[in-house]
Symmetry: C2
DNA sequence: TGTACATCAGTGAACGCGCGTTCACTGATGTAC
DNA sequence: TGTACATCAGTGAACGCGCGTTCACTGATGTAC
């Protein structure tokens, strides 16, 4: 089934991977066809042999960025769990880490692109909604099983909002202090056993 | 002191007001000099008699959008308080309202533009950081006086994140359900008297 | 009150530039016999 | 194994377009006497 990928497929993947990084660091509008092709070691003319349009690349790059971020989080979370941390703590510590604050290009595309997403073309918005649902599902998987419905989406919103606020405050003491406070809040409130108050 | 504003000042204000709405509905990149001038009933040539550059307009429009949003919230909050609601509830109910979900162009610029802000020119980023601090200050003013330091920034992050997640899910039942859950969570957790468990 | 002139807000044509997209072509890879 | 040909990935010039910015000009407003 997974035969050796063709030469074209390898190039395609390289373009998508390049775009997925650029997308998160410069945003939807900061990513140009010629730019991406050049960074992937190609000329811009060949682009349309790989994608129907720029928007088609954006949708693919968004999905790839989400997968990349999910895989990184999973790996870091495994390291945290092996130190005896809860799954929730492993997620929160990694999502709200100083490293994530400083490196949007390899981080969560939802946090890096949230406010631009509602303004994208249909295909891109669909990919965006899928990324949000995937993030919520990841949070759900680390919450105590008896958490009320909707809790995962609330925690995901707190993660995304806190990282964005920290980035707006800047990659400095102010931003990092905010991240630390948000980590502490989430763990105190959501790590099982849950605190009193229904 | 506040003499009658000159004709030029009136035009200037009209451009900024037009830009402040367009900015929130289409984002930093969706706002063009010629477009704004046309919407303000002018031709694009006169732009540079009012602003040193496009970025200078963006910074001014961002500040104006923040003031506009703050004034609207204050007004709606007063209405809520007159119904006997706490100040926190008045803020949360209005910030996370279906109306705010559906109308970014007259809403909070931080929620509408958060992920684009770190990528703007210096002057714009400074204006952005000021908007974030202003939002945090507004939250602080409605929290119980004994809330730990940093709480206001955490609640502000939850407000911004929840509205953005709702907008990514769409202005539909899914998005509105998420907003309702976030409202309930914030009130249960932060409305005084604070629940047990520090 | 009326005329002459200076000031000033706004006009519209033009500029250089970078963008997304198209397309005729090239050179390498793979297949047929 | 070697030759002839078809396929295909990638090249680079060109396109139409919209952008931010500049600038010589116009027509209205305000001031001096």
């Amino acid at each position: 089934m997974d035969a050796a990928p063709s030469r074209k497929q390898l190039t395609h993947d390289r373009i998508v991977d390049t775009a997925a990084r650029a997308l998160r660091s410069t945003g939807f509008h900061g990513i140009g066809v010629a730019d991406i092709m050049k960074k992937a070691g190609l000329t811009h003319g060949g682009f349309y042999a790989h994608f129907a349009s720029r928007d088609a690349l954006l949708a693919e790059a968004l999905e790839h960025a989400g997968e990349d971020s999910r895989a990184r989080l999973h790996k870091s979370m495994a390291a945290g769990e092996s130190k005896g941390h809860s799954r929730l703590r492993a997620l929160v510590d990694n999502y709200l880490s100083d490293r994530h604050l400083a490196s949007p290009e390899s981080g969560c595309p939802v946090a890096a692109l949230a406010s631009e997403m509602p303004r994208q073309a249909d295909a891109v918005r669909d990919a965006a909604a899928a990324r949000v649902r995937s993030l919520i599902a990841l949070v759900e998987s680390v919450l105590p099983a008896d958490a009320p419905a909707g809790t995962a989406a609330i925690v995901a919103s707190q993660l995304v909002g806190s990282l964005q606020v920290a980035r707006m405050l800047g990659d400095n003491a102010q931003g990092r202090r905010h991240l630390a406070a948000a980590r502490q809040f989430l763990l105190e409130r959501f790590e099982s056993p849950r605190p009193a108050g229904r």
